[in-house]
Symmetry: D5
Subunit: 137 residues, 10 copies
Amino acid sequence: MNDPKLSSVQTRMFQAKAQRKLSFEKIGEELGCNEVYAASIFYGQAKPTEAEIKRLCEILNIPTGHLVEEMGEHFYPSRGGLMPMPPTDPTLYRFIEMIQVFGYPLKAIIHEKFGDGIMSAIDFKANVDKVRKKRHG
Amino acid sequence: MNDPKLSSVQTRMFQAKAQRKLSFEKIGEELGCNEVYAASIFYGQAKPTEAEIKRLCEILNIPTGHLVEEMGEHFYPSRGGLMPMPPTDPTLYRFIEMIQVFGYPLKAIIHEKFGDGIMSAIDFKANVDKVRKKRHG
Amino acid sequence: MNDPKLSSVQTRMFQAKAQRKLSFEKIGEELGCNEVYAASIFYGQAKPTEAEIKRLCEILNIPTGHLVEEMGEHFYPSRGGLMPMPPTDPTLYRFIEMIQVFGYPLKAIIHEKFGDGIMSAIDFKANVDKVRKKRHG
Amino acid sequence: MNDPKLSSVQTRMFQAKAQRKLSFEKIGEELGCNEVYAASIFYGQAKPTEAEIKRLCEILNIPTGHLVEEMGEHFYPSRGGLMPMPPTDPTLYRFIEMIQVFGYPLKAIIHEKFGDGIMSAIDFKANVDKVRKKRHG
Amino acid sequence: MNDPKLSSVQTRMFQAKAQRKLSFEKIGEELGCNEVYAASIFYGQAKPTEAEIKRLCEILNIPTGHLVEEMGEHFYPSRGGLMPMPPTDPTLYRFIEMIQVFGYPLKAIIHEKFGDGIMSAIDFKANVDKVRKKRHG
Amino acid sequence: MNDPKLSSVQTRMFQAKAQRKLSFEKIGEELGCNEVYAASIFYGQAKPTEAEIKRLCEILNIPTGHLVEEMGEHFYPSRGGLMPMPPTDPTLYRFIEMIQVFGYPLKAIIHEKFGDGIMSAIDFKANVDKVRKKRHG
Amino acid sequence: MNDPKLSSVQTRMFQAKAQRKLSFEKIGEELGCNEVYAASIFYGQAKPTEAEIKRLCEILNIPTGHLVEEMGEHFYPSRGGLMPMPPTDPTLYRFIEMIQVFGYPLKAIIHEKFGDGIMSAIDFKANVDKVRKKRHG
Amino acid sequence: MNDPKLSSVQTRMFQAKAQRKLSFEKIGEELGCNEVYAASIFYGQAKPTEAEIKRLCEILNIPTGHLVEEMGEHFYPSRGGLMPMPPTDPTLYRFIEMIQVFGYPLKAIIHEKFGDGIMSAIDFKANVDKVRKKRHG
Amino acid sequence: MNDPKLSSVQTRMFQAKAQRKLSFEKIGEELGCNEVYAASIFYGQAKPTEAEIKRLCEILNIPTGHLVEEMGEHFYPSRGGLMPMPPTDPTLYRFIEMIQVFGYPLKAIIHEKFGDGIMSAIDFKANVDKVRKKRHG
Amino acid sequence: MNDPKLSSVQTRMFQAKAQRKLSFEKIGEELGCNEVYAASIFYGQAKPTEAEIKRLCEILNIPTGHLVEEMGEHFYPSRGGLMPMPPTDPTLYRFIEMIQVFGYPLKAIIHEKFGDGIMSAIDFKANVDKVRKKRHG
């Protein structure tokens, strides 16, 4: 199967989140951060601060020891590698499709507006909102 | 080299755009559509309406015949294929990196908010704006 | 070997199905759904409703706890990834062969009939029936 | 770009079809065959009979010489190879997605119903019809 | 290393075969089938009939229970996937080399002799015999 | 499309063969060699002897100059590379499927019969005959 | 062969450089920039300023028109894609080997020294100097 | 996830390093070697001398037995293989990006300065220092 | 990490060799065979004779039972698959580099000297000797 | 087809060699270098000295101008890339097979004899001689 492999600490975090019926939006609010950033901590894709680890353990009711050991001072994420490329899951694949189709148009507009710069994927910030379908354009 | 191959009509469109110093933002305004959609017509990734073809020819001062023949009623784009996967261009690659790192977090949030749905890559709408760098979250 | 990896709950479902000599057609009837959809629950490719989980446990005589834990409210399938691409199994490979050979013809006809739309793979519905072989066309 | 490469004869066939505003459904009716089979002749994926070549030339108003030379007695199609794998075009990719998600369920049902057989991809027959969207199952 | 992964039942079958110093030719004779077909049962590539399972257990002196559970009524092989492609083992690679070199010649002759047909890989029957080396042709 | 690229001399050989309605079986008889070997000369996969080149030119009514220049004393074929791997053409793919499914069974039998030897793909000799379909074994 | 494909303007630049026996070090000095940056303009991997284009044309004795058309205001490089990955050329491959072997050690040290940052590949600056071989460490 | 797999001895070395809050720079000083070389011992990418093993065990307070058994006289590293290619981690990927963009420029300058030589990846020596960002060149 | 996976018997053989400080050259002498052949037995790439197994067990002071069970009469090596392709280890990669660079030159010379033959990789015999570096040619 | 692409100068060199019935062994003798090195000049894999270019033009009766322009002072070969990996030609593939089978044994012996060194693929020197087949070892 195709689920990303989680460490035992990450599995425990997801289970605690499920039992407490917490959404990432809620966890983000509690941590004082974006919901996508909050979720990326659960998937081992971000390096939380000490304060974030402490707060996260309170929210999830998990002892801080395990999280500190796995995500503490010495931890720097080896990012990516959670999915095959291209991903087989349709929800994930749609992102790839966007880049296949709109990648060069976006690159052209980025350069037109900002010159020879590169958008930072790490400072990336996304919001997920439902949009009522409109015709193209 | 790594530039997407353009048809002779597409090349002419890009040259006319360059000579008239038109941005895709400006062309989008003239066509009454999003700038990313406008750019995707230039790259053969979208099917313009007859009215859009006519207006585009006026904006670029190109005879409509060629555009109609290439992008007219019988044309349906074979989308994608403009770049190798993963793309080697850093600006394009950053999009892939976002998905590698934030793909599963975004999928989790999409499902939390909207259930088992799939974001449509075709009805996708993007805006490109400069954002003053903020710390994560 | 080439079998898709199943979770222990999925393995139990397949064993119960085998012991009770239930076909997916029969299970689909009991669940009130298409047989392909019923089978895709067994392979972790669909998100069953709470009612479907409950009914499935009755049909298979399995306690609902395990299924709810694995396929309950918090579960959203990471679809795909069950087979290598292209698949080596001849029965699965024939589907790929169809797309290799008839993909562009089907795309042309889809666009001729419905314009620039995309068939939804998720709302996909298939029936499997024996067809007496006819000459092409 | 991503369009399948066509021979000069095939290009002429597509142009004649466009000028006469013929659909593949119409051409199929005229040839006395399925529309998908008719389209697959245009893409060089099927071997037309002598009678089909003759009738096709009448329908498209093309001299039979070129078609006979390219698709005549000595022609046996080298099938496939029109698209990259996986295809980048969303309409084509959806077929792959179906197999990724529903491939094993379909294999299981095929074997349940017909034993250890293999569906023939060559005798494959498809119909393209608009289906009003229904909930799964 | 490069050996195909065998299930515990398959391993037991190979061990019993080794202890009894049975060749696949001998096993095929006992089963009343071709030696290649007999070997493909050991590798999980064929679906034996109930009678074949029973006879096989007698030949190998293995209780039928395990074989029935693994290869019985509900079993349909997920064929292939035993080797990397191209295979690294020289004996296996030579088959690929034959197809690389003689594939198109064989396709041309198959079509010349039998028209647009496809040789069935499943009904495939091979004999392995030593041939005294002759010059080509 | 998917046809192997032929040199201009090879194209001429195929055209002469078509015009004279010669089969590879017939050409092989005339050359005094196996039909598969004869066809492999047309595809540039074999090194014909001087006598074979001379005889081939008589059979096809082609001046020997071109064939000598392309396939003469200094020519040693760079074999393979005519098809993608795995091949997309169903007739060619079936050979791959055979190896996927029956490769290890054949290897086991080859070693049982002949020890640690390797079948020579170059001295390979095939006959193509229609076989009335029999049940497995 | 394996050389990166150059545009006709780039070819002319390399020829002029060869005729004038100019090194990239010399050209960099004349342009007032790093030699690696100077070379990357020749390979279409950097966007030169207007002043750099003008100065480059003087150094190489090439009319500015062609360079402006190819590398002027509207040009933004589609970077990368000059070599296969991994590169087959030994000099280029050694860079990959360094990353294979020393990539994780370097990542560990970068994070130890600078935290969760990412070295910018675009602001990258290299010097090429001969170093007398020392024992490791 | 994407972390390189470590042996149990390597894991112990990393844990000891973390507990003692030792940086690779510090360890390198203690060993009398470059920090990158020191880190590459931890990742199994370098062959330490007997003296280095002994000193390393003192620094980390680990008994020498395990290190000698794993990295002693008979050990020669099978280098590389710690990351997928291209690596998904952004910090590691930036190195690849450098080579994609600046590889040919560097090759050209290496040859200009040193002739047809090849930089040794094994005698490679790197220093990691923070550089205040400068404009290109 | 990148080491070839060894069976427990092979691991024992390597450990015994290490403890006894035996080189493959020495073992080859004792077995009466080439050192490369001797090493290839340790890596499971060659089929030792019964006499070689017996002598090997004496040399390594290992009971013959395990070796006979793993490498005895019924064992035929599934060769290759010990390394990724291309290998990441520099020592192994250099062999690939040789073939990339000198492969066609060697093929040309082999054909010039011996006609359309193929060097046997299995009867391959290598000697490893230090050669004082000479200028090319 | 599968032949390495040659530049027009290289093609001319091969034609002159064929017309004069020169072997690479003979050309190597005339150039005062190894035959493999001589052949690698023809394939663009080596950088000949000025003296070698001059002598080569005398041997082949070609004006030096073209060779100097293509292989002169400014030329540094982009090595490799002449064949697909793995190569489909059996003669070339056998080299790969050797590395697959004997690569780790050779690495082990190289390290045993010479320590942690790497054989230079560039200073590589080969001789091609017919060896009377001996049993392994």
